[in-house]
């Protein structure tokens, strides 16, 4: 899983229809971001759970298509609910919800999941702000 390149309206982007990796436009931090992204995906939370969270956040923040309704486990449902609340209002994460997460995930996994969700949220917002409108992308 790599950070997706996308076409941006930024005037400093190369001309043409090819999507650019917007993080190449950063004068600093691009490599560190990619390293963090790779580490999130290779840590101790399974890809399916992370992808469910990532797509749910993308849906909420950027209006991306709703993820498929494939069967999810109680653990995955709890993770996605945590992701939703994190995006909407982190203060809305209740003690009960956090205790419930610990029925499914170890503290190590919750540390990973929290950082992963923070990264997904941040990148979804970057995409929402910098990506060209879909109607402008050929």
């Amino acid at each position: 899983m790599t950070v997706d390149a996308f076409a941006t309206w930024l005037p400093v982007a190369p001309a043409g229809d090819e999507p650019v990796d917007v993080f190449d436009l950063l004068t600093a931090g691009g490599d560190e971001l990619r390293t963090l992204w790779d580490m999130v995906w290779t840590a101790d939370v399974d890809h399916r759970t992370l992808e469910l969270c990532r797509t749910r956040i993308a849906t909420m923040v950027a209006g991306a298509p709703t993820p498929s309704s494939d069967a999810v486990t109680d653990a995955q449902r709890a993770a996605v609910a945590f992701a939703e609340q994190f995006v909407l209002d982190p203060h809305g994460c209740t003690d009960e919800q956090m205790l419930g997460l610990q029925d499914h995930y170890t503290p190590e996994q919750l540390a990973t999941l929290t950082i992963a969700i923070a990264v997904f949220d941040a990148l979804a917002r970057v995409h929402a702000v910098l990506a060209q409108p879909e109607e402008d992308v050929q």
Binding site: T27, G29, E32, L33, A43, L99, A111
Partner: protein
């Protein structure tokens, strides 16, 4: 604290020191390098902290 840190740790992120280090490396790089002036970054940080009611 909702999720206890490991023995000797201070926060939940001490459960994943390598991942937290990667996060802090990104955070530190964004603060110390780049094309944007520090006051602009700090203004954005304060505004974001107020919106999400972050005490940091």
């Amino acid at each position: 604290m909702r999720i206890q840190p490991p023995p000797g740790g201070q926060s939940v992120f001490d459960h994943q020191p390598a991942l937290f280090e990667a996060f802090n490396r990104l955070y530190g790089t964004l603060w110390t390098l780049g094309a944007l002036e520090q006051p602009v970054k700090e203004t954005a940080r304060i505004r974001n902290a107020r919106v999400v009611d972050c005490g940091l």
